[in-house]
């Protein structure tokens, strides 16, 4: 047993010294390989963690949101609709939601004003999302002036800053009282932005939605499952930029593996010829070459995955920030909860380590079966 292990260790020693003889080429190959694994693994970690967090956090969203459409556009919904909806069997609660957007010309950022909730701030006071507070350099006790629909500015006292770890859901929020919201936006009386509906039995949500759509043809009910599906599709594997990034990374890897698979250099052929002439068997040469491939691919895989983990979960994925930020002035600063799916790590392993190792064996096998004399002279 020990003799066998020693034999493999000797071949591994030889493989490593052979790789070190072509130090420049192999180190650059290792570097590029690690970068490719790093980007693919970062993408996998980021998407999985974000999708998981979205599914968990949005579980607290309303079962159903009812919007009113006028000529195909969203319009404030009469609060009276809510009384009729609450009479539908299975509906446990209907609450009007008051929310809207406010564009701040100074910072050029869009804020979301919300006036729903059980714990409203005091009169002419607001709660600020920590993203807004950071952007406008505001603290509790400071004042914020918002320009109303009629042109007059309204000054609000900042009563509280929402916790900084809530930025993923509340970075751009300004919570305000309902009467202040109505005054600021000159919002029509007896109307709400939309209605949040709670349903006792979650299985009945689609039935309740169908009843609402039937009874109020000018409304559009949006189910919680649809909200969750939106986020599943935003960061879907098949979606937009994600697939472009993945495609580029996979294509670079395929080019790398193809380059390796298409043939050996004259020096490597000569080396195989010498090894065979001094008594190495074809099997030994294949083990040597697969070890060479494995040394590079396994090191790149492990280093790439570890670096990707640190990039996404410790440094909040700065390489993806620009892509996600787009044209937003206000971008939330959030740390995702670490989540590692062993299945995806295995898939990544088989997609990166195996093809490369196999691709190094094929040309070596072709060279090792040739007569040593021919191989040395080639």
């Amino acid at each position: 047993m020990n003799r066998r292990i020693e034999r493999y260790r000797n071949i591994l020693d030889f493989a490593l010294s052979s790789l070190l003889r072509r130090k420049g080429k192999n180190l650059s190959l290792l570097g590029m390989y690690t970068v490719i694994v790093f980007f693919i693994a970062s993408l996998v970690f980021f998407i999985q963690a974000l999708k998981r967090e979205a599914a968990l956090v949005l579980d607290g969203a309303p079962d159903l949101v009812v919007q009113r459409l006028v000529a195909g556009r969203d319009d404030p919904i009469p609060v009276a609709y809510g009384y009729k909806i609450s009479a539908i069997r299975g509906v446990s609660e209907v609450k009007p939601r008051f929310w809207g957007y406010y564009y701040d010309p100074v910072t050029r950022a869009n804020f979301t004003l919300v006036a729903s909730g059980d714990d409203p701030p005091g009169r002419e006071s607001i709660y600020l999302g920590s993203g807004v507070a950071r952007l406008m350099h505001l603290n509790a006790g400071n004042y914020l002036s918002l320009r109303g629909a009629k042109g007059a500015s309204q000054v609000f006292s900042v009563q509280k800053i929402l916790a900084s770890n809530s930025e993923l859901v509340a970075a751009d929020l300004i919570q305000i009282r309902e009467d202040d919201f109505r005054t600021l936006f000159d919002f029509p009386a007896g109307r709400a932005t939309d209605l949040a509906v709670s349903v006792r039995n979650k299985v009945e949500v689609p039935t309740v939605a169908a009843k609402i759509a039937h009874e109020f043809p000018d409304t559009r009910p949006i189910l919680k499952s649809e909200m969750l599906r939106t986020y599943a599709s935003v960061f879907d594997w098949r979606g937009g930029m994600v697939i472009v990034l993945l495609f580029v990374a996979v294509l670079s890897f395929v080019i790398l593996a193809w380059d390796k698979a298409t043939g050996l250099s004259a020096e490597e052929r000569k080396e195989i010829g010498i090894l065979k002439s001094i008594g190495w068997e074809t099997g030994d040469v294949l083990i040597l070459k697969s070890f060479e491939g494995m040394v590079i691919s396994l090191t790149a895989y492990l280093a790439g995955v570890c670096l990707a983990y640190l990039h996404v979960f410790f440094f909040s994925a700065p390489f993806f920030e620009q892509a996600l930020k787009g044209w937003s002035v206000l971008y939330p600063q959030f740390k995702l909860a670490p989540f590692v799916d062993p299945y995806l790590l295995c898939v990544l392993f088989f997609l990166t380590v195996c093809p490369y190792t196999v691709s190094t064996i094929v040309p070596s096998w072709l060279a090792a079966t040739v007569d040593p004399d021919t191989a040395m002279r080639s």
Partner: protein, 98 residues
């Protein structure tokens, strides 16, 4: 020291690092669970429907609430012009073969 010893030490330390990172993810479930629960409570209290990921336009801030022709609402023939539009997949029915 033999090359193979150096290499096996490197691979073992990388595997150990990966295992420790996995263990860290497992152990931090409690603290992360607390902040996820507080976010969930905030979502429930304020009846929020979307994550605050893209604040550049109203239909990217609340994609779940946006109307179906949202990207075209700014002016006629206004194709999606925000970078986050390229991150969002088109709806499933668009990709289904008829």
């Amino acid at each position: 020291m033999r090359y193979s010893t150096c290499f096996l030490t490197l691979i073992c330390s990388l595997m150990l690092s990966l295992a420790l990172l996995g263990l860290y993810a497992y152990l931090s479930r409690t603290s992360d669970g607390a902040h996820i629960a507080s976010n969930m409570e905030l979502v429930r209290r304020l009846k929020l429907t979307d994550l605050c990921l893209f604040t550049e336009a109203r239909y990217t801030r609340n994609p779940a609430m946006a109307d179906l022709h949202a990207p075209f609402q700014d002016h006629p023939m206004a194709l999606e012009h925000f970078p986050s539009g390229s991150l969002m997949a088109p709806p499933d029915f668009v990709r289904e073969k008829r």
